[in-house]
């Protein structure tokens, strides 16, 4: 992806094609198989319960995902992307992992907001270690989740201990990610950029 500000009309046909691409149908198949197995194993009553809970989940999560996509869109156009990208290219050492972990820990909101921000980082061509350190830190040390979930369920002492133990772990994950002999391209999962 180029990161250039898009111009010209939106390529709707292309968007619909990528929206309904191969992996979309994998998800449709997954949902259908799970629904059928659920119906056969647990019976019609449990199936209806599950369907009801699913509908609640959908109506609860989807508005937040839409809002998070809008938010990420605005952040994307407002960020000084060239400079940030250059900053990320310059800082490829351990320090970048520490910064990524710190930002991950203070990113508020659930996955609906964290993953769009991860997509922004990927779009800025942050290295794989930074991406892994960021999302691991958000998952493990997210301050908001610790306040909302860890402390009420597990108590303050336990939560603090788990937090302190967890501090080096996202950086470690980032180091491991940099050493793994695997490459990831995000091109297939980026919306088509206009090339006119």
């Amino acid at each position: 992806m180029t990161g250039d500000a898009p111009t010209g009309p939106i390529d709707w046909a292309g968007l619909v094609r990528s929206g309904l691409g191969k992996s979309f149908w994998l998800f449709v198949a997954f949902a259908a198989i799970m629904a059928i197995v659920c119906y056969l194993v647990l019976g019609p009553n449990a199936f209806e319960d599950a369907l009801g809970r699913n509908t609640e989940l959908l109506t609860g999560v989807l508005p937040r995902v839409v809002a998070a996509q809008l938010l990420a869109g605005f952040v994307w156009v407002l960020l000084p992307r060239e400079r940030l990208s250059a900053f990320l290219q310059r800082n490829r050492g351990r320090r970048a992992l520490v910064i990524a972990a710190a930002v991950g820990a203070i990113t508020p909101g659930g996955p609906a907001s964290a993953f769009p921000f991860l997509a922004i980082l990927a779009g800025l061509r942050a290295d794989i270690g930074v991406l892994v350190a960021y999302i691991t830190s958000w998952a493990l040390l997210g301050v908001q989740r610790i306040i909302v979930w860890d402390m009420p369920f597990m108590g303050v002492d336990f939560s603090l201990m788990r937090f302190l133990i967890g501090i080096p772990l996202p950086i470690l994950a980032g180091i491991v990610a940099r050493r793994l002999p695997l490459t990831v391209s995000f091109e297939d999962h980026e919306p088509r950029r206009d090339q006119q």
């Binding site: 939106i10 968007l15 997954f30 990420a72 156009v77 407002l78 909101g109 788990r162 990610a177």
Partner: protein
């Protein structure tokens, strides 16, 4: 889920929409455009991923997992806790309910730390719902391999701290 997270997303999206509109240039339109492009890829997958994951969670007998975890101790408990965290494919409500139930049965603190760490970093539900649709299998494989050592390390550190 949690009110603050949702409030932040809605508030920040509205705030930035107002700000970009006030600039009276192409910023607002470009932001909407970027959002629409991202959303048309993600939303159709997300809907069916959520449906499938919802049914999957219903099928996993969580009581068995809790009992199995509760009988272990020491580093074996840490390893089992790590593995259990790996297979819990549900949000924080279910996972913390399990962790709390496990704690009330006298579970060891290192096993609990390993369980919560494993669930946090593997997060099978998030992988299904967000990561595969947004970033693809290759990213998920690399991230999973990177975080595999974390739950046992966290459990071992907890053993050192509580010893």
């Amino acid at each position: 889920m949690n009110g603050f997270g949702a409030l932040f997303i809605y508030g920040a999206a509205l705030g930035l929409a107002a700000y970009t509109l006030a600039r009276r240039d192409t910023t607002f339109r470009n932001g909407i455009r970027r959002a629409v492009e991202q959303a048309t890829i993600i939303m159709p997958r997300l809907v069916f991923a959520l449906l499938g994951a919802g049914f999957l969670v219903t099928l996993i007998p969580t009581e068995i997992i809790v009992r199995f975890l509760g009988e272990e101790s020491g580093f074996t408990g840490v390893l089992i806790g790590s593995l259990t965290g790996l297979v819990i494919a549900s949000g924080p409500a279910m996972s913390f309910a399990i962790a709390a139930a496990f704690a009330s049965e006298g579970a060891s603190i290192p096993a609990l730390v390993a369980f919560l760490t494993g669930w946090s970093v593997f997060a099978a539900h998030r992988v299904l719902i967000f990561e595969i649709p947004m970033f693809g299998f290759r990213w998920v494989r690399l991230r999973m391999l990177s975080v595999i050592p974390l739950p046992p390390i966290a459990g071992a550190l907890a053993m050192l701290v509580t010893a």
